[in-house]
């Protein structure tokens, strides 16, 4: 009788234990599967970005082929939001409430992610490694369930500031910026980085609206301000216009071009290589077209993966590199989470990466996070336009927000 009781008790205890373990795991996690949600613009004006989500899907395919993560297959559900915030809300609710995904990963766009920022944090569902450079994603105090991945705009501004302080502390800076959060984030980063010298070094600021046909007039003003350094914060079309207009005006300042628009294919070559010689920009990922990487192991692995899992993808498109590298970071976090796949633990693992090197980051760049640091990548390397390509120079620059001089 006593034995029976013991057996019964242990059986109950066992059932309870299993129940507890299952309750701890996030919805969407079973013994065989982890469901991950994602929103991306497969249609509409930002459709080019969907190459990132396609790359991520292909990267998870490879991982699943190799046995998944700790024996679980990854079920990556990526849906179209057309870069339209109301649709992001609708799709996100569907993913969280109907599909019951464990968390969202690499949702694309600043306005779109902003639309579900509060919702995700209220629901306590991780909104991990969002694909946007806005600085607002690293706010663990108010939004403990949201984290970015790529270096934020402010950190890039800080990197340029460091470069200027070191190489030309008497620079007279003229700023061209898009009059919205993105533009102001970049301006703010530069100001932070320059610290006390910001007021004396920045001598002119000119903004433009996305609806403006050209940026001619602000550039004429910047030229006349006597600036010798031109900090260009604009999206591809306007960046190309600015490069062409400077050339037309015979204005040859040190041109700092934000990384948003440093694509050789869609900006620099369109404006004309001869017009942009000597421009400086920043990078954190390997450029797949740069012959320097052809013999690098990570490039070779990436290249083989592209051939096998994403043959339709464009190998010259840096978005495929971004998707691949972010996907590897996600896998790293899930592996560290082990069998405790609760939302709390996934978030905790994401917030405790130490010197993790995601493949295809520039050599020397490491991912570090902590409970109070929700900015995974904060390092940059500068590069200069020479001939028909970018040439990296100098050391890796730390652009941690708040680390200004």
């Amino acid at each position: 009788m006593k034995m029976l009781t013991t057996t019964m008790v242990s059986a109950v205890a066992l059932t309870l234990a299993i129940g507890a373990a299952e309750a701890r795991n996030a919805p969407g996690v079973t013994a065989k599967e982890i469901k991950i949600g994602n929103t991306n613009p497969y249609s509409g004006p930002a459709a080019a970005y969907s190459a990132i989500a396609k790359a991520i899907g292909a990267c998870f395919d490879m991982q699943n082929g190799e046995g998944g993560v700790n024996g679980r297959q990854i079920n990556f559900i990526s849906v179209d939001d057309g870069y339209s915030p109301p649709r992001t809300v609708e799709q996100t609710r569907k993913l969280v409430e109907r599909e019951k995904v464990a968390f969202l990963f690499q949702g694309l766009g600043t306005p779109t992610n902003s639309a579900v920022h509060t919702y995700m944090n209220k629901k306590k569902v991780p909104q991990l490694f969002v694909a946007t450079g806005a600085t607002k994603w690293g706010d663990p105090k108010n939004f403990p369930w949201t984290m970015g991945w790529q270096p934020n705009y402010q950190s890039e501004g800080i990197a340029y500031a460091r470069y200027l302080l070191e190489n030309n502390p008497d620079a007279k800076i003229g700023i061209l910026y898009q009059n919205d959060d993105y533009g102001k984030d970049y301006v703010h980063g530069l100001e932070n980085g320059l610290g006390a010298k910001a007021a004396s070094m920045i001598i002119a600021r000119e903004s433009f609206e996305v609806t403006d046909p050209t940026v001619d007039s602000p550039i004429v003003n910047l030229k006349n301000s006597g600036a010798d350094t031109f900090y260009n914060i604009s999206t591809p079309k306007f960046a190309a216009q600015a490069i062409a207009k400077n050339f037309e005006l015979n204005w040859a300042p040190l041109h700092l071009l934000n990384s948003v628009s440093n694509s050789i294919g869609s900006v620099v070559s369109k404006a004309g290589f001869e017009k942009g010689q000597g421009m400086i920009s920043a990078a954190y990922l390997m450029d797949p077209t740069d012959p320097e990487w052809k013999s690098h192991d990570e490039y070779k692995a990436w290249n083989a993966w592209m051939d096998e899992y994403y043959p339709d993808g464009d190998k010259a498109d840096s978005f495929t590199v971004l998707g691949y590298s972010a996907c590897k970071t996600m896998i790293h976090v899930l592996e560290n989470a082990g069998d405790d796949l609760s939302r709390e633990n996934i978030m905790a693992q994401a917030a405790s990466m130490k010197n993790y090197r995601a493949p295809m980051l520039l050599p020397g760049i490491k991912i570090n996070t902590s409970a109070s640091d929700f900015y995974p990548i904060e390092q940059w390397q500068l590069m200069r336009l020479k001939g028909e390509g970018w040439e990296r120079f100098g050391d890796i620059i730390d652009g941690a927000v708040g680390s200004g001089s």
């Binding site: 903004s207 046909p213 602000p218 030229k223 079309k237 216009q241 062409a244 869609s266």
Partner: protein, 292 residues
């Protein structure tokens, strides 16, 4: 003083962009008595056609062949839109027309993105980008101002001196009376749409080398074009051109010396309102009296 001159010249060059588009606006207004909100997107789409005809990835034709072909294709396309979309609803209220304009706007925008993607494209210019006055204005911008003035002359002559231009004005101003004196109103409307699409195509091909070709290149430009047309008078091609240049220059002056760059767009909108309040017919427009 340098800054003043440079901003003025730069405003003149940007004003040429607005003037071009304002001409297309006036053209369609003369033909159908309405604004066409899809005008900018139609012009943008025409420009993509020209780009496709010229580019190595497309047909690789020489510039002037593509230029003429694009104008002809745009004419056919514009007339076809009138016949297919607007002829059946010619008796519908104005609101229906406006809804269709907006539908066309969004269709052309999406279609261009779908067919040609959203990355900026480089558009060739026969004038080159060499400096015309060193450091102030480039050869393309001078060429653009010249083409705008030629276009203005052609349109002016068309409406003033040709019987068909007169018939077109009649068909727009008073369809019933025009029909009674033997003008084929339906044909005139299609012709007007075709011509407006052609003028828009020329405007697009002149603007694209400066702004780069993207599906959203006309979004803000059309607003300034409207402002130009309203300032100059919707019924006057000369007024539209003067209005376009005025908006371009005023915008730069206000942005540089008065309100700062953040409020530049507002200047165009305030201008529209002020002109409509003070001189509704515009600087050179004729006052339209309608019997109710």
């Amino acid at each position: 003083m340098d800054l003043f001159i440079e901003q003025t010249v730069s405003g003149l060059a940007t004003g040429a962009i607005y003037a071009c588009l304002a001409l297309a606006v006036v053209m369609i207004y003369q033909a159908i008595d309405h604004f066409n909100f899809a005008q900018g997107e139609m012009a943008m789409f025409s420009t993509y056609i020209a780009w496709y005809l010229m580019d190595d990835a497309g047909l690789g034709l020489p510039f002037w062949v593509a230029f003429v072909a694009c104008i002809v294709l745009s004419f056919i396309g514009g007339a076809a839109i009138e016949r297919i979309v607007f002829a059946p609803i010619s008796d519908a209220p104005v609101l229906s027309h406006i809804i269709v304009f907006i539908a066309l706007f969004s269709m052309f925008n999406s279609l261009a993105g779908f067919l040609f993607d959203f990355t900026p494209k480089n558009f060739e210019t026969p004038f080159g980008h060499t400096p015309f006055i060193d450091g102030v204005i480039s050869s393309h911008r001078v060429g653009m101002i010249a083409v705008t003035l030629i276009l203005l002359g052609l349109i002016y002559a068309f409406f003033r001196f040709t019987p068909i231009g007169l018939a077109m004005r009649a068909a727009a101003a008073s369809p019933e009376s025009a029909r009674l004196v033997g003008v084929r109103v339906g044909f005139m409307l299609a012709l007007g749409w075709g011509l407006a699409a052609s003028v828009g195509a020329v405007a697009g091909m002149l603007i694209a080398p400066i702004t780069f070709l993207t599906p959203d290149m006309m979004l803000g430009t059309l607003l300034y074009g409207f402002a130009g047309a309203v300032v100059g008078g919707l019924t006057s091609p000369l007024g539209a051109v003067i209005g376009g240049f005025m908006v371009g220059i005023l915008e730069n002056w206000m942005g540089t010396f008065v309100v700062g760059s953040q409020l530049k767009l507002t200047v165009a909108l305030v201008l529209i309102i002020v002109v409509l309040l003070v001189k509704p017919a515009g600087l050179l427009g004729r006052v339209v009296v309608k019997r109710v």
